[in-house]
């Protein structure tokens, strides 16, 4: 079957540029919320088929690390799901950057901070894509789980979605760097819509 989201070079460049802009907005928001200077960079952006997601994660992430996996449903024409994966150590560092005292950092607080970041990144990235095709989207409340290794990653995504846009994320603070992976999972229909969004953006350049 033809890969519906097979992007040509221009479309990929366009997606990278749009996500850079979105991340710029997200960075500004995060900096303002926590009152600290932060930069958010995207060293890598990729699109893969959803059935290759688990093998991608196996290559990319350390299989024995513990990870938090936050997922958030997107509703509307760009229906899909955003997933943010972050390792345990980065998560604790993130909580510190959010000015939590050592005695305040517990499982619940860490999860809450990750949900907050997921929410900000989701709205910045998917919101940007939606605005290109003049459509409205809404987000469901994000959920979070902790997995003891990447083997426990929920495999239901393979059947549920057709394509995945992977945005490797580096959140850089003065003291420390925090790494995470944001994945935008799209269904077939929304993949077509996304391609249309990119083409619209290219036409308007």
């Amino acid at each position: 079957m033809k890969n519906l989201i097979e992007l040509n070079k221009d479309e990929k460049d366009c997606l990278q540029e749009l996500m850079n802009i979105s991340y710029g907005a997200a960075t500004a928001a995060i900096s303002e919320i926590i009152g600290k200077f932060a930069t958010l960079s995207i060293p890598n952006i990729d699109t893969i088929s959803s059935k290759d997601l688990v093998s991608y994660l196996n290559k990319k992430l350390l299989s024995k690390n513990k990870y938090y996996v936050a997922n958030q449903l997107i509703n509307g024409y760009l229906a899909g799901e955003n997933i943010f994966i972050i390792d345990e150590i980065s998560s604790i560092n993130l909580a510190r950057e959010f000015d939590l005292e050592e005695d305040e950092i517990d499982e619940n607080e860490i999860k809450d901070i990750i949900l907050e970041i997921t929410n900000i990144l989701s709205s910045a990235t998917s919101g940007k894509l939606a605005s290109l095709v003049d459509t409205s989207i809404s987000f469901s409340a994000p959920h979070i789980t902790k997995i003891n290794s990447i083997d426990e990653f929920d495999k239901r995504f393979e059947g549920e979605y057709s394509h995945v846009i992977i945005i490797s994320t580096k959140l850089n603070f003065k003291e420390q760097n925090i790494k995470g992976e944001l994945m935008i999972l799209t269904k077939k229909e929304s993949s077509i819509f996304l391609k249309k969004a990119l083409d619209n953006a290219l036409e308007n350049l």
């Binding site: 919320i33 607080e109 709205s123 994000p142 979070i144």
Partner: protein, 309 residues
């Protein structure tokens, strides 16, 4: 058409609060008046934290700032916060939660004036159903791990756990662990003489005696019929022999009273083996060696404990 938002505000089936950036109350809908018994006129202009000091001020202020900065909704999910405002549950059919379980959405209401809006949804029923399902699921999993007669673990659970324990041992400088197989002597005679109900009682008694002798970290399983296996963690051959002998002696001393004048006594034969490198990383080979030792115990007169070399 002129739409009166106040009708929606006061009839919608969830709580709505409008707050300024310092979280002073600007509006408080009828739903909240009913559930909290606090009238809007009493709470207007008051700070939310003064009324509800248990609210995490730092977190809620951060959320408020987030929605005002991003102009997007933010959520307090039930994963991490059971409720924003503590509302006792009055539903008599609820048996799990004392307080209403809430989903909270925080929205920008007026960016220029820095007003936010909080929606409170009652999610208690869904949480209750989920929790009951989770409990039922846990019970099912537990049942699938246990032998129905004795309630000790079954062979399947033993196989799963023994692999994990073997891996743990190998990751930790080969911490020793041992297997003990145990078989009730002449069990067919007990069944034939006293009937299956007495036979079952003997099996249950043996299971209880074994369980009483091991630590909670050890695993005791019924492999079927009158055969049991113990997996003793952090336990070499000498210590495993001591535990096995204690079990054998305790069983030798016990009896079951069938009628006022009939006492059924019974014994067990035991084989002991320690997992070692010669087992070629296969715990089944350790089990086979323990079984061979058990047959030796049977062959030299029963009611004995024999260790595998």
């Amino acid at each position: 058409m002129q739409i009166d938002n106040n009708i929606i505000f006061d009839t919608v089936n969830n709580g709505i609060i409008i707050l300024d950036e310092d979280l002073n109350v600007l509006a408080w809908n009828k739903w909240l008046e009913i559930y909290t018994k606090i009238k809007e006129k009493d709470i207007l202009t008051k700070n939310l934290f003064k009324y509800f000091p248990y609210i995490n001020e730092k977190k809620l202020k951060r959320k408020a700032k987030t929605v005002l900065v991003t102009n997007n909704p933010s959520f307090l999910s039930l994963n991490t916060n059971r409720y924003l405002i503590n509302i006792p549950v009055s539903n008599v059919t609820n048996t799990i939660f004392d307080s209403m379980q809430q989903d909270i959405t925080i929205l920008p209401y007026n960016i220029e004036k820095k007003y936010i809006c909080i929606y409170i949804y009652d999610n208690t029923l869904m949480c209750e159903i989920n929790q009951k399902l989770e409990r039922a699921n846990e019970e099912l999993i537990d049942m699938s791990h246990r032998d129905p007669l004795t309630q000790i673990f079954n062979r399947r659970y033993f196989s799963e756990q023994s692999k994990k324990i073997k891996s743990f041992s190998q990751r930790n400088d080969n911490i020793p662990f041992s297997l003990v197989t145990l078989d009730i002597d002449k069990f067919k005679n007990i069944n034939d003489t006293y009937g299956h109900l007495v036979g079952d009682e003997v099996i249950i008694r043996v299971a209880h005696i074994i369980e009483a002798e091991v630590r909670t970290s050890d695993i005791v399983a019924r492999f079927g019929g009158e055969e049991f296996v113990m997996l003793l963690q952090d336990c070499d051959l000498d210590n495993a022999y001591k535990v096995a002998e204690k079990v054998r002696q305790d069983i030798e001393k016990t009896s079951i009273i069938v009628h006022i004048d009939t006492e059924v006594k019974f014994t067990v034969s035991i084989g002991v083996a320690q997992f070692n490198q010669e087992d070629n990383n296969n715990i089944e080979l350790t089990l086979s060696r323990a079984d061979e030792a058990l047959y030796k115990a049977k062959n030299i007169g029963r009611n004995k404990t024999v260790v595998s070399n």
